[in-house]
Structure formats: structure tokens, C-alpha cells
């Protein structure tokens, strides 16, 4: 049931129109950060108010919403956002990636391949990939307009000189259709290849920094690299201990006082689905058998 004290999806119509116009311009100029007038939301900034506003502007009553936080559907953040839209927009919710029409995410791209019928909305803390090189907004705007991305390459190359490899393991910068350098939000670089050629529309919202940007479906997205040091998404050298997946992004979990560890899929829906289908890892049992 929609709670009638709120407008549909909480935001007033004028605010949604302003956000919708910004989204359309973001789609028209892939990777470019469109300014928008971010609104106060009934949750702290750290909870992804930019993503929440983009989601609010995109939702229709027929949508089925999934919300993930670092791959998990059941964190406080994910549960709160899901129930917020369930109440203010009356939309159906799901934890199954394949059943969702709109997925709001914090710091992960689902393992299950996305489709043309889905929108992925990212919560973004710092949208400007050049910010740590140049704190002044007018300067970074000028650098983007002139495609002055040399400093970014210098920073990455210093990593190689110092560590023998690019040390950045998440928030790894990308170039969109050979034009704009873009911050993919703090997803692990393991997820970067999924940004490119994705059949789903990808939208990015930064609330505190008041920016919206977009990757239309099938947009080419290249992780920055060098001929002698090609991009490496760095898959961990383990399979999931619960479902046995060898191709998913893993979290390391401490399981006992003796320092025992296990590696499990960060994407909880993916791991659960695999176990339900009978797959098992080193420490896991397929669904239906006693653990």
C-alpha cells in the first residue's frame, strides 16, 4: 500500500522533473557528470541519497525493486531503502537479480548478467575521478572539457613504479566511449568489465556532491591502463566455500576464534541461487540437505 501522506516515490513532482531532466542529459552525454539540486532525504547522506533520488525519479508502479549493499540484500541500509520505496511508491520488491526491473546498488554489480529490461542505479559518494588530483571544481570541469587526463595516468603509473602494479583495487577509473574519464563508484575493480557493453541502463547518483551520470546500454567502458601493464580485474585465487563458484567476487569471513577463514560470494542472491541449484563449495552443503 502506498502511504498517501507522501507523493509517489516520496519526492514532489517538481523535484522529480528536475532529476529526470538531469538523467536524460546524462544519458545523452555518457560519463559526463550532470549537476542537479539534490534534496534532503529522510536518511543520512552515507545511505546513498543520490541513488535514492535517481531511483525515485525512475520508478513506476509496475517496477520490482532490488536493493543491495556490497552485494547483500539484508544489510540495514538495503533493507531500509527497500522498505522506503515499498511504502512510498508501493512497488514490489525482490532479492532475486533476475526478477528485478530496477536495482539500486552500493559498491557492487550483481554477478547474474543484467538484461535490457533492467536499470542499475549506483549510489556514489565521490563522483569526480579527478578530485584527489585537483580539489577545485572549476579546474576539474576544465580538465574534462579539454580531455586533460594526463595527471590521472601519471598517478596510476606511479603506482606501477612503486608497487609493480596499479594498487587501486576499487573505485578504479574508467574511460567512457573514448571520451570522459568516469568514477564507477567504489565497486571492486573485479566488477569493472561488467560496466562495458552492459545490456542494462546504468545510472549513477551522488547526493552530497549533487551529480548524476549515466552509461546507456552497450556503452563501451575501458578501465584505464597501459600497454605494458594492461588492466587486471584480479580474481581472488579461491572458489566460494559455500557454493563453489569460481567466477564470483568473494568476501573473506573469519569463522572462529582460531583465525579460521572462509571465502564466500559477496553477492548473496547469487550464492543462494547456486546452492539452491545443488552447487556446493568446500564448506557448504546444497540447499535441502542438513547443514
Amino acid at each position: 500500500m502506498t502511504e498517501q501522506a507522501y507523493n509517489f516515490a516520496y519526492l514532489d513532482e517538481q523535484t522529480k522533473r528536475m532529476i529526470r531532466r538531469a538523467i536524460l542529459k546524462g544519458v545523452a552525454v555518457p560519463g559526463y557528470q550532470v549537476p542537479f539540486a539534490s534534496r534532503e532525504m529522510p536518511m543520512p547522506y552515507g545511505w546513498g541519497t543520490g541513488g535514492v533520488q535517481v531511483t525515485a525519479a525512475c520508478l513506476t508502479p509496475g517496477d520490482r525493486l532490488k536493493v543491495i549493499d556490497q552485494g547483500a540484500d539484508d544489510t540495514t541500509n538495503a533493507v531500509s531503502i527497500r522498505s522506503f520505496f515499498s511504502r512510498t511508491a508501493g512497488v514490489a520488491v525482490t532479492e532475486a537479480t533476475a526478477e528485478a526491473t530496477l536495482i539500486q546498488t552500493r559498491h557492487r554489480i550483481p554477478e547474474h548478467p543484467l538484461t535490457e529490461d533492467q536499470i542499475l542505479v549506483y549510489q556514489v559518494p565521490i563522483p569526480e575521478p579527478l578530485r584527489f588530483l585537483e580539489p577545485r571544481e572549476p579546474e576539474t570541469r576544465k580538465m574534462h572539457s579539454l580531455e586533460e587526463y594526463g595527471l590521472m595516468h601519471v598517478k596510476l603509473y606511479e603506482d606501477i613504479a612503486r608497487h609493480g602494479a596499479i594498487a587501486t583495487s576499487y573505485d578504479y577509473p574508467v574511460k567512457v566511449e573514448g571520451r570522459y574519464v568516469m568514477d564507477p563508484s567504489p565497486i571492486p575493480k573485479f566488477d569493472n568489465p561488467k560496466l562495458s557493453g552492459c545490456p542494462a541502463l546504468q545510472l549513477f547518483g551522488a547526493g552530497r556532491e549533487q551529480r548524476i551520470y549515466a552509461l546507456p546500454p552497450y556503452t563501451r567502458v575501458d578501465s584505464l591502463d597501459f600497454d605494458d601493464h594492461p588492466f587486471d580485474p584480479s580474481k581472488a585465487d579461491h572458489d566460494c566455500d559455500l557454493c563453489g563458484a569460481g567466477d564470483s567476487y568473494l568476501d573473506e569471513v573469519i569463522i572462529d576464534d582460531a583465525g579460521g577463514r572462509m571465502f564466500v560470494c559477496s553477492d548473496t542472491d547469487f550464492c543462494r541461487s547456486r546452492r539452491a541449484a545443488g552447487h556446493a563449495g568446500r564448506l557448504g552443503t546444497p540447499a535441502g540437505e542438513a547443514a
Binding site: L24, V27, A28, P35, E116, H144
Partner: protein, 193 residues
């Protein structure tokens, strides 16, 4: 300048703006995100000569902060009154427009429309081009939002090639016909046949 508040002016808006504008925006977003793919959009019933698609786009996206240019036949009393009443958008010459609506020939010359600035390419006009036919055939499109190639009836392929050459500057367009809409952002390449 204000026309009398006739039934035509007062009518034809959204009955349930939050829901209808949400559905209309999704259609517009799908259109702009997948150039060449035709979407159905509706909810508004504007006075002639505006199409349902063009009228619905304006009610969904325009308001008092977005100047609108009515070109050619679209610049009539009935539409001026309707758009003013339902959106409060200021009606302006082409040069000041955030949205412009009309037939292709009435929108020319295109050089009048804002194409953004190098630091703010988003400050560019969106054209709503009323088409006599809108079908997924004709010019070959490629670029973001298109898996391989798409086809779309364009009023003037060369004009869209010239616009794409300005990228990341340039205008963006919705092509409308009846209740159908297709998007043509500046990022789309129109290939030589």
C-alpha cells in the same frame, strides 16, 4: 497575451500526474537510452496540432524553470494557453529554449538552439520533432544505447551527423508521431549508407 481559460486549455492534462508522469518518463528514458527503438507514450491530450507524444513529453519534463519554444504551427493560441496552464513554462524564442517543439522545417535553422558549453554540455536544448511518419527503418544508427545497429526514419540525416560532430556538445532530440516516440541523443552516429 493570456488566452481565455477554455475547456481546451484546462483539459488534456494528467489525471494522476505522479503516476502518469512516472510512466511517461520511463518511456522517454527508454527512448533516449536506446536510440532508434520506438516507445509508446501517453497520458496528455494536447490541442491540435501537437501529438499525444509531444504533449506528454512536455507535461512530463517542462515546468516554470524550463523555457519552451513553439515552432511554426505549434505556435498557436490553443497550445500557448495549454502549455502555460499545465506547465507554467515561459514561451521563448529558439535561442533561449530548453525544449523546442514543432515540425522539422519549422525548427530550422538549428544553429539557433543551445548546444551546451565545454564545461557544461548538459546546458543544451532538447528538440521535440513532430514527424509525419516514425518507423524503425531508413537511416542507420550506431553508438551508446545501440547493441549493433538500429534504423530510424530521420528528417535530415546530415543535420544529425553535423550535430554528432559537435559531441560532447550538441542538442538532443525526441522524434514524435502520434503516441510514439524515439530518442536521438547527440551521442548517436548516423552512418553513411
Amino acid at each position: 497575451m493570456a488566452s481565455a481559460l477554455t475547456a481546451e486549455t484546462l483539459g488534456g492534462g494528467f489525471d494522476d500526474a505522479p503516476i502518469q508522469s512516472a510512466r511517461a518518463f520511463r518511456a522517454a528514458l527508454d527512448a533516449m537510452a536506446r536510440p532508434g527503438r520506438i516507445q509508446v507514450i501517453g497520458g496528455a491530450v494536447p490541442p491540435a496540432p501537437l501529438s499525444v507524444a509531444a504533449g506528454t513529453l512536455l507535461l512530463t519534463l517542462a515546468d516554470g524553470t524550463t523555457p519552451v519554444h513553439l515552432a511554426g504551427d505549434a505556435d498557436c493560441d490553443a497550445l500557448r494557453g495549454w502549455i502555460t496552464f499545465h506547465t507554467a513554462a515561459p514561451l521563448v524564442p529558439a535561442e533561449a529554449a530548453v525544449f523546442a517543439v514543432g515540425r522539422w522545417t519549422d525548427l530550422l535553422p538549428l544553429a539557433r538552439f543551445a548546444t551546451g558549453t565545454p564545461e557544461y554540455p548538459d546546458r543544451a536544448a532538447t528538440l521535440i520533432v513532430e514527424m509525419p511518419v516514425l518507423e524503425a527503418k531508413g537511416s542507420v544508427l550506431a553508438g551508446p544505447g545501440i547493441r549493433d545497429r538500429a534504423r530510424l526514419t530521420l528528417p535530415d540525416p546530415d543535420a544529425f551527423r553535423a550535430n554528432h560532430a559537435l559531441f560532447p556538445l550538441g542538442f538532443d532530440a525526441f522524434l514524435t508521431c502520434g503516441s510514439r516516440v524515439a530518442g536521438l541523443p547527440r551521442s548517436t552516429r548516423v552512418e553513411d549508407v
